[in-house]
Amino acid sequence: MLRDAHTLEDGALLQADVCVVGAGAAGITIARGLRGAGLTVLLLESGSLEHHGPAQTLSEGEAYGVHSLSLVGCRMRSFGGTTGHWAGRCRPLDPEDFEARPWIPESGWPISRPTLDPYYARAQETLELGAFDYDAGTLANAAGASLLPFDPARLESLAYQFSPPTRFGNKFRAELEAAADVEVYLNANLTEVVLGDRGAVSEIRVATLGGTRFTARADAYVLAMGGIENPRLLLASNKQEAAGVGNRHGHVGRWFMEHPQQRAAAFAVVRRNLPRLYRLSRNPSRAGRHPGEIPVEVDAALGLPAAVRAHEGMVGMAAFLPRADTEFAGEALAGEVGALVTRGDDEVFQIDLKMEQRPNPASRVTIGDDLDPLGVPRVRVDWEVLDSDRRDIARTLRLIAAEFGSTGMGRMWIGSEAAEYPLDRVWGQCHHMGTTRMSDTPADGVVDADCRVHGIANLYMAGGSVFRTGGYANPTLTIVALAHRLAEHLAATVRPAVDIGLEVGG
């Protein structure tokens, strides 16, 4: 069922076995995953069915640090969440991303990539992708395209699949409306997580912008509101514990990560034909799961192999090769210098980097003094990128340049020869991660390997906030895989006890 929380009476009490807050990719995947498990599910969504509705104003806050982080534009408060405007680019995290890498402090997830692989396969289906196979050669073959002839031990092709993209709000609305064991409330904004006496959440408080306030109780609670709202609400729920819920060790909101995107970080003058797999997003391929299915679209970027990154002590990056933006290319190719390496049959591509950033406790989400219309402190986000990350940009580009030269592909122009790459062309990608990071022990993070908040028996986090490191790959596929895994965990551990229903009063 799907309802508008404005229709509830003030002071209403909703009860279910599992309460999921946030109807985006993670929340909807969890609600769907619990269907048929004998549990009742309450799914609360801040927005409505309308994109860019009034609830968007609740995302306003202050952003510091790297200038381009957009708090309102990135996030969508509507049924389906930010999948309402995502581009659909998918790739799993690399196996090495889950491992402890000594050159990246605070790396090493409590779970391994093989642990997540079965859930990645499910996520492929949820996101309407092809088979869970990201081998560049396989996907290039499926697309009838060739790969660049680089030595794979020095520079490899990174393949991506594209979701149509799956708009969760459109795709799964009818299913959830028809579900007898899932009740969706729109315009329902979490305002406080309340702890009980036994170290568990006793209830959550919810409000609409229209003034209705109500309570939800469940055996298990999942916050699936994104990498900024998850910590914001934990920090704002500070009446019982001053540091906020789940924050005894001070990790909530810290370790905020994005995927810094450096546009036109360099230019490549290519003397051979660049295969279309690198030129075009969305190359149709035959990598669909079933005969006759709409072909999955694929493309490829370039990246340094894990062994090279380990040897050099660097973070991961994906280098994309769009046609050069004339605004930027002019600087690179102006005048006599450009004449050296450009001939009539050369083509110029710019190199856009999308990179991992090292976990950094100073990069963080906090709450400010200003309150939103519901009385919840507005968010402050200080996104910081370490100098070591910036240094890795230039080093990565130089290694790519060496391979371009070695194979006769062409030459590269790198805008900055400084040891530290400037951040004047850094964009965020609306990938908000790390703020309720996963850890083996409470002292080292916020949630355990099951995404349960350390020390709180019935509170779980879902979404990019649980990422311990972010890798360079777009996060949605991993978010959905983790959501499938969490749904399975909840289905196995939550005891069905409560008939879904509305109790007035309380």
């Binding site: 210098v337 450009g338 130089r398 060496a402 030269g405 070695s406 030459r411 590269m412 122009w413």
Partner: protein
């Protein structure tokens, strides 16, 4: 500095400078460079960059020589080029050397371009023509 070092490093630089100042015509410069013991390198550099904009290459070479190596140091390796037999063969060997530079990350960042060190040195020679 030993006499041998003086002859191998300083003398060619002086000869190059004199050639550039006194005999500023490409043919004469090449002859002067040959007198200085690097004429073959100059001929090969011309052949290596055949069809390209030598003025642009020379500008890049000047940037390289100004910022990275003295002319004599830059040319030290290239002086070994012997083109008496076959210029084409020498150019092929240079191309191999360029590839080897890239394979071993011997890059020179010149005006933003990531060139092989051999390539940058050839530009340096071209700047003297």
């Amino acid at each position: 500095m030993t006499r041998r070092e003086f002859l191998s490093r300083v003398l060619p630089a002086i000869a190059i400078g004199l050639a550039a100042v006194v005999l500023w015509r490409p043919g004469r410069v090449v002859r002067a460079l040959r007198l200085a013991g690097i004429g073959d390198a100059a001929l090969v550099a011309q052949a290596y960059f055949a069809g390209r904009d030598l003025a642009a290459i020379g500008a890049l070479g000047r940037t390289y020589l100004d910022g990275f190596e003295s002319a004599t140091a830059a040319l030290a390796d290239l002086r070994m080029i012997d083109a008496h037999g076959d210029v084409d063969d020498a150019v092929a060997r240079l191309r191999s050397s360029v590839t080897d530079d890239f394979d071993n990350s011997r890059l020179a960042a010149v005006g933003g371009w990531q060139l092989s060190v051999t390539e940058a040195r050839l530009c340096g020679i071209a700047s003297l023509l």
